[in-house]
Structure formats: structure tokens, C-alpha cells
Symmetry: C2
Subunit: 366 residues, 2 copies
């Protein structure tokens, strides 16, 4: 086995999920993530944790959803019980065909998603971590050779996470003290409130309320969004290519939308429920190890010099204890590139200009 | 997709598991059983059943077990909850390497098996069905080409199960009315009591208390076994080749054992617990569609003209309501071929001679 796969598994189980002896761990293995599954199984065995492997197959989901009548039972008891009793959930994605479910009707998918809100909440209440095992399909989606893609993934995953966490603590402090964020670039002039919200230092560990490996972003839950934004980083959303999505907000809600490509997917998302038309997340990418767009959200949204916004559900970690944030069955991240002419301001003070933070070399203070 | 895979999935979900709308179904997908998993997902969707896929990976199990310290927690709560809430469990085996776990220490495996008795019982209390998707590794183990092996498997699986069920009802009646069974062939002269026990007409459907697809056997739970038996059908047990196992019984318990090959595995099984030294099952193969040994228990034990005996746990279906049969963490089937000079007698009456039943053409009544 490639040593990098073992290191990946060790980082996931130790740094990210903080698995202890006796923990009840669900390992969700994607169709192409078998090798990482084996390495994770070894790590869990070494820690005397308990293991149950689930199979996350795009082809099985597609076949099931297409054949189903469309009236889904709310939160089937057996799956809910599994996640309610679990301590950790490790999601190892690894697609063999990133378009495997592209021909599933959107309303079918939405209906199932709505029916599984309790299961989703139970899973999010565990020490869950999502990561990715590099596959040929994902290399293809990134327009990269398999070998180069593997190097890309492991560069992003096998980092000095403790050092990056310290660096990100700076931005978290600035956002926690701030009241209003303003983002401007070529197609964007957007303001949103963040007062009363707590930013998360997303250092790829549940100890930081951070659930993605790789990570490297600071995010909070904005509200009262106003203005317009263009998401100029191309993405594949639900199997469909989406480009240059432009959203207009008034009083926190999307009032207009268009897209150069994939507009129907945007419409489908916005129509899921009421909360899908409001933002659940503002995230600032800080992982300088990720230096190119690969059409995989887990990486793209962490790229240093980008900002992303999510339509839909907000994370509890950003909210005051007991306060409910934006609620929705979806959480869909869209990304805008700040590495051209841009500013990111908090209460009128420029924190980042043209993709460079004020504490980084090359920051233009004027 | 091969039409036979779709027919297999339909037989499994309809005839075997009798899945209804709203049922909570666990689908356990082996490393090489993906295609059948997709076909089963479609069938479950068509019936508006719920689906949760688990991943049964020999390589993950091996890595986990080898790394583990050896003190396993009893029945981890999350897995137990899953099976306690499930209605059906469909086990799709499909190995990519039938020796994948051959280097796991036997005591490690035994310890885990002992710690999972509650989970096992919860799973056995569902409408569970075990079946097999033909893989190249299994073709290799059978010494067959892939194409020929696929034909073999589907011949055994895609049968007129209703008609076979009627034929097997005959033998069930004879065993239910009988008190003592005697089996004789070249290396065997064994008697066992069966009075008070109920034979199961194993017609590959939960409606018949039958949990294997293919099936085609009638089995009961014997006791007070005495004599000797030679299992002359070679098998791979726990990844190890086992040949010509000879067991001697006194008062229901194994008092002596030897094997031409794989004796250490036999010892390991017998040492699991007290119940592992007694029989949990006497089974009579009646599937004439299976006409050759392929070193896969699911098929070999159903072959017309063979008899198998299992060390370990008895099935509740064979026992009077409320009565506990032989209890053990293991249930290991071993097979003897009756197609040479042999007799199978119940209370002194010959039901089968030289592998031919009394109601079949060619039966020698003398």
C-alpha cells in the first residue's frame, strides 16, 4: 500500500476525528475509496475502536431513486438508530464516475433529502469527518493525470495542521469582533451581517468544530445579506456543470438568479424549501497548499484567495447556544475567486486585497 | 446489465426476502458484489422499501482484526440498534480473493465472534437472506472459467422454487415423523436423535424459514450423536483448505478429530466454546441443479446426493417453541458425499440409497 494512504488514514483518525478506544465508528466507503477504507480499518483496529462499514455507491443510489415511487418514509428507524448511537462517522468519498447520478430527477432527490432530516441531524451530532480518496474519475474531473492528482490531494491533506490552525485563529478573531462583512470583486458587491455569530477555525479536526479533511478555511453564518455576487469558479453541482452563477439578495433572501450554465440546477436548489433562498455560510479559503481549481468542493472552497457562500442550512457551531440559524434540507456551497481585483472588508477595514491577507507578504495597504 | 443479475435481484427481493413497501432493509455488499447491489437497489426502490447499504470487505476486516488488541467490546450499541430495528438483511457476498483474511489469527477471529453474539442474534431475528454474486475469484476457487461459473451460479439460483418446495415437503414429513437418523458411507456410520425436532423445508424463502439463495435442502437439529463421520467433500474453511475431516462422537459430543488437511482449523473451531463440539444441524442436499463441488458452502451443501452436518449453533426454527437448542458462537457446515455406496435411514427405513431418494427413478429398494 502507498505510504501516503496510511498517513492519510492516520491523520483522519487521529488529528481529525480524535477516535478513542471503544468509540462506535461508522466508516462510509465510496465506490472507489476501498484502499483508504482498508487503511482506516487498520487505524481503528490499532485504537481498539469499533467499526461498521457502510457503502456509499452512486450507482446504487441512482438505481434506487429512479425506481422509487417518490413518497419516502421520514427517517427510517434503523438508520436513525445507527447514527444516534454512533460516536464518529468517517465519510470516505471516492467516486468512480462523478456523473453517476446525473440522470436522477431533481424532485426525487429533493423529496428523499427532505425525508431524511432527522437522520442527517443525528449524523451531524457525531464527530463526523468527510475526506476523499483520489480516484481516476476525480483526476479526470480535475483535468489532471492520476499521478499528478494523487500528489495534489496528498499535498492538501498531509499538512502541518497545528501550524495552520494557529494562522487561521487570526482571521477568526477579526470575524468574531466584526459586525458586517463586505465582499467586492468584478461581479460582486455584497454585504452581510455577522454580529452575534462565532467564526469556526476549520482546522480539519472535530476539536475545532471542523469536519472536512483537507480543510483550511474560517467560516461563519451570515444574515441580512444584500447586494449581488458572481460565483466565477466553475463547479459540478449534483452532476451538472454550473458556471458564473449570479445571485441578487434583498433582506437576506435571493430575489433574482441567473447562470451562464446549469441554471436549472440553481433553480432546483432554491426551490427546495424556504431556507434554501438564504445564506447558511460565509467561508474564507486559507489553505495555500491548494493552488488550483479541481472541481471538487472539498478542495476548491479551501483554496487560499477564494471566498464561498452556501445556500441553505447554517451550522450550529456558528450560532449562540440555543439559537436557531437558517434551516434547510440543503447546504450548497458556491465559490468566488478573490485573486483578481478585490477586497474583503469587515466594518470598513480591508482584511484581504486581491486575494492577499493583510498579514501576508505582498499585501497592498492602500 | 446482464439480465440474469436483474432476475437474481428480483428472486432475492420477491421470492426469498418477501420485501414489502416501507420495510427497513439492510443490504450488505461484498467487495465484488457491486453489480448485484445495484440491481437489488433498483428492486428495493420499485417496492418503496427503505435501503441502507453496508460494505462487507474481507480486506477491511483483515486489517482491522490484525491491528486490534484483541479485547472486543460486547455488541457495540450502534450496530446492535441497526439490526434490532431492521426488517430484512440481504447479504450479497462476492469475494475478490477468497483467501483475503487467511492471515488473521484464529483466536482474534474467535474473540470478535464471541463478542458479537447479541448482534448476530438481532440479525438472525430479521428476514435475512444470504446470496452470492459470481466473481472471478470464486470461479477460480471452483476451478472454472468465469463464464462457466456464472452459468453454474444462475442455474442454481434461477429455479422454479415453488415446485422444488413441493418436492422437499416429502422429506420434511418423513424427518418430522422420525426419531433416529443413521448415515452410512465409506468413512461414516453415525446415528443421531431427531425426535421432537421440526425439519425445515429450505426453499430459499423466509416464508419457509429458509435463508439462503440458492437453497434446496431439508435440515433439522440433531442431538445425542454417536459414531464416526468422514467429510470427504473438500472445503475452504476460514481461508484454509480442509480435506477428509473425520470426527468421532460420543453422547452428542466430539471426542476425537483428525483431518488429512487443515486439522488446525478444525481444532480452532472445536475450541471456540462448549457448543462447538456438538452438532447444530443435519442437512440433506436436494438441489439437483447443483451437480458439482465448487468449494462454496452455499452451493456445495445444497447439492443433491450430499449430506452436511454443522458444528455449533442450532437454528430456532428446528426447535419446539421456547426450547433452547445447541448454543455456540460458531456454525460450521461440513459435507459428506452419499453418491457412492451409502444409505440414509430413518428409524431403520432407507430413504436414500447411493444418493438416490426412494421417490426418485433409479432407487434400489433392496
Amino acid at each position: 500500500m502507498d505510504d501516503r494512504i496510511r498517513e492519510h488514514a492516520e491523520t483522519l483518525v487521529d488529528w481529525s476525528a480524535r477516535v478513542d478506544a471503544g468509540d462506535d465508528v461508522v466508516v462510509s466507503v465510496g465506490e472507489g475509496a476501498h484502499e483508504l477504507g482498508v487503511a482506516v480499518a487498520e487505524e481503528l483496529g490499532e485504537r481498539d475502536a469499533n467499526m461498521l462499514a457502510t457503502y456509499a455507491s452512486g450507482e446504487m443510489s441512482r438505481a434506487y431513486l429512479r425506481a422509487h415511487g417518490g413518497e419516502f418514509e421520514d427517517d427510517p428507524a434503523y438508520e436513525r438508530a445507527l447514527y444516534e448511537e454512533a460516536d464518529s462517522v468517517l465519510l470516505l468519498s471516492g467516486s468512480r464516475n462523478t456523473a453517476a447520478a446525473a440522470d436522477v430527477p431533481g424532485d426525487r432527490r429533493q423529496a428523499r433529502s427532505r425525508a431524511r432530516q432527522g437522520i442527517r441531524e443525528a449524523r451531524l451530532a457525531t464527530d463526523w469527518v468527510s475526506t476523499v480518496h483520489p480516484t481516476r474519475a476525480m483526476a479526470q474531473q480535475a483535468g489532471m493525470s492520476y499521478e499528478a492528482y494523487q500528489a495534489f490531494v496528498y499535498d492538501a491533506v498531509l499538512r502541518d495542521w497545528a501550524a495552520l490552525a494557529d494562522e487561521m485563529a487570526r482571521l477568526k478573531e477579526l470575524l468574531d469582533d466584526g459586525e458586517e462583512v463586505r465582499i467586492r470583486n468584478e461581479g460582486t458587491d455584497l454585504t452581510m451581517r455577522i454580529d452575534g455569530r462565532t467564526a469556526v477555525n476549520s482546522a480539519a479536526s472535530v476539536a475545532y468544530d471542523s469536519h472536512n479533511l483537507p480543510s483550511g478555511e474560517v467560516f461563519t453564518a451570515p444574515y441580512a445579506t444584500a447586494g449581488y455576487v458572481t460565483f466565477d469558479v466553475p463547479q459540478t453541482v449534483r452532476g451538472t456543470r454550473v458556471e458564473d452563477v449570479r445571485l441578487t439578495f434583498e433582506e437576506g433572501e435571493v430575489t433574482d438568479y441567473e447562470a451562464a450554465r446549469g441554471e436549472s440546477v440553481v433553480e432546483e436548489i432554491l426551490d427546495t424549501d424556504e431556507g434554501a433562498r438564504r445564506l447558511g455560510e460565509l467561508g474564507v479559503g486559507m489553505n495555500r497548499g491548494i493552488d488550483r481549481v479541481t472541481d471538487n468542493l472539498l478542495f476548491d472552497e479551501k483554496m487560499g484567495g477564494t471566498v464561498h457562500l452556501a445556500l441553505g442550512r447554517a451550522y450550529d457551531a456558528n450560532l449562540p447556544e440555543g439559537e436557531a440559524g437558517n434551516d434547510s434540507a440543503v447546504h450548497v456551497d458556491l465559490i468566488t475567486d478573490m485573486r483578481g481585483e478585490s477586497t474583503l472588508e469587515v466594518d470598513g477595514e480591508v482584511l484581504q486585497r486581491d486575494g492577499v491577507f493583510r498579514w501576508e507578504d505582498g499585501f497592498d495597504g492602500d
